[in-house]
């Protein structure tokens, strides 16, 4: 098992995540795609950690932090989506153009 295979896996996961963010209209699915991108980052962190044989295992620790942060992010993100849906009866991101002043 070389590091190349894990990097390719991470790249594939990241690309799928980007595609999902840009193409999905449902806000929940956009959030899922973001989670995919974060998972790709975690794969990369762990792979490079093993590859470089870091004594302190810093990559794995960063991966744990990322997981924790993404859990929090999803929590907030879902709450926002739920509120948007209640207000507007829709969770389609292409209908949400309120960021334009």
């Amino acid at each position: 098992m070389t590091v190349t295979q894990f990097v390719l896996l991470g790249a594939a996961l990241f690309s799928i995540g980007v595609y999902g963010v840009l193409t999905r209209r449902n806000a929940v699915l956009v959030l899922l795609s973001v989670e995919l991108m974060l998972a790709a980052v975690n794969v990369n962190l762990v792979a490079f950690d093993r590859h470089l044989a870091d004594q302190l295992a810093g990559g794995q620790v960063f991966a744990l932090f990322t997981i924790a942060v993404s859990a929090a992010e999803v929590g907030i993100g879902l709450a926002i989506v739920l509120l948007i849906f209640r207000n507007r009866r829709s969770a389609n991101v292409d209908e949400l153009d309120l960021l334009k002043l």
Binding site: V18, V21, L22, V93, D94, D97, L98, K100, L101
Partner: protein, 696 residues
Amino acid sequence: MIGLLAPGLVAPVLVVAEEAHAAELSSGGLLASAAWLIPVVPLVAAWVIALFGKRFPLKGWDVAIAVMGFEAAYGTVLLLSHIANPIGYEGTVEIARIGSLPIEWGWTVDGLSIMMYSIVGVVGFLVFLYARGYMEGDIRYTWFFASFTLFAGGMLVLVSAPNLLQLIVGWELVGVSSWLLIGHYWEEHENSSAAIKAFLVNRVGDIGLFIGAIIVSVSVGSFRFSDVLDGVESGAPTLARYAFWGGVALFIGAMGKSAQFPLHVWLPDAMAGPTPVSALMHAATMVTAGVYLVGRVYPLYLTEGFADDVRSFIIVVGALTLFLTGLIALVQNDIKKVLAYSTLSQLGYMTAAMGAGAYTAGLFHLFTHAFFKALLFLGAGSVIHAVHSNNLSDMGGLRKDMPWTFRTFVVGSLALAGILPLAGFFSKDEILASLRFAGSEESGFTAAQGGAGLANVVLVLAIAGAFVTAFYMARTVFLTFYGQYKGHGHPHESPKVMWVPLAVLGFFSIVAGWINIPGITSTFTDVVGARFHLVADHHAESFDYLAMVLGLAAAVGGIALGYRIWFPDRATQAERDTFTIPGLYPLLSAKYHIDTFYMDGIIRPIRGPVAGAVNWVNGHVIDFVVNGAGLAAMGLGRGVYVLDQEGVDGAINAAGAVTGAGGGVLRRMQSGRIEQYATWLIGGTVALVAGFIIFS
């Protein structure tokens, strides 16, 4: 900062008499060291009156009279303490320095300046008091007192000056306030012309003063009078070489201010000013500045080897002035002009005395003349105030209507004529005695200075002048106060604020002469003689009886002749009113054609070509320059216009267009759609990563 000069005792420059001068000069204590207030207070007050005078309850007069009261009190206290214990003090403050030559402001407190302080203070106070009544209702009442106070300040700057530069400052200050006050009624063209004439004629003399100050100061290396006189005393060779021309030039300055013969023409015209101005400036104080200047540098004129030769010039100028101008006074119809010519004549006496080496006599006449001439002018003003005319032909018979004016005017006239116990007698007698002394063998008036013969000729002229003086004053008194009233309306005595100063001045006109009676008192001689550079001169032990009898006879004769011609109401009054002196009248009424000569002989020939030349220069040179400048400015304007339109506006428009276009492009990015933002975000990240990969 303030240097106190140690009082130095100096051997008398010319010992011709036994009168002992003050042996020791005291520093005068606080009284002298605080004397800088004397010139400063009125100068400050002049600005206060000019700026805030109208807000005071009495429209600025109250400030002016307070200032003059201060001056009178300070002057009197100084004079009394000087008589008790002679003061010699010089305070100086250095203002600037040119190389090694310091420019100083200072104040002199010695016999000569104390005498002037007391005259300016006391006579000034009385004239200011009088002016309140005289100027009542004037349109520029406050302004009048502002200028008048400025004059007092300028005069005191002049007499307190310890150096030539400050003297010039004071000289010009009185010149400019004279100009302001002669032209007080400037609405009439004649008056403003008189002001300009006075200023310009004075300027001729001023050039002499400047040149003299430069010659004397440069050859001594200091502007201070004390250094100049030290130089005289020690026989400084550089000063001795140039002293003659320096002395001549300084005296020309004195001739301008003291209105001596060829430069006398401004003073009669100066009567266009209000009467209090004529009384204080053009009789009592300002016109004596020239005599004062000669007195201040007197050792220069007295010491052999310096400017002693100039004295023959001085005595001739004085003699011509005293005699010729006195005659003109005989034919004047304007009462103020009579007094103006009389003032010229008396100034001639003072100058002649100075020329004859009689320092004390000249200054003594200055002192007494200040009182009785101020009195006469104020009396004339009182009459003018009552009859609303300056002309003797509109007066007559006023003695019952205006008792106080009449009494004081007669006292003043007798004092001026030199009748025995009054002030003018003693001072004029002293001048006659000095002239006789100068003409005698034992005097220091040597052949080089004109010789005894010249002094005797001047003595004859002075006695004849005394006759003329008495004659024209008799005429003035008889035409004004006797006979029938010829004016309009009914004249009344002036208010108390006007006749009280007259009475006080009348008192002084009687007693002022008693302080220097030969053989009895020598107070005045001691007062003006007590200074750092002692000027000892002739003050006789007893009367010079011949001079006294001749002078008195001339005065009585003049009055008698005046009485004979103008007093009796014989035949008709009209005849005596229009009496003219046979033979002389045309020449005198034309004022010896001097004004005409100046106008036709000097002013017009110069003015015509100068005006032509100026016109040509104006038409050709100045217009060319102006037009050229205009054209150049126009061309430059065009260039700037183009640059502005094309360059600056272009740049600004371009900047605007770029910003607008940029805004148009960027506006499209801000759509509010999340996918688009995410696309930009990811595109940007990809571009950054690509950049890192390519360029790292």
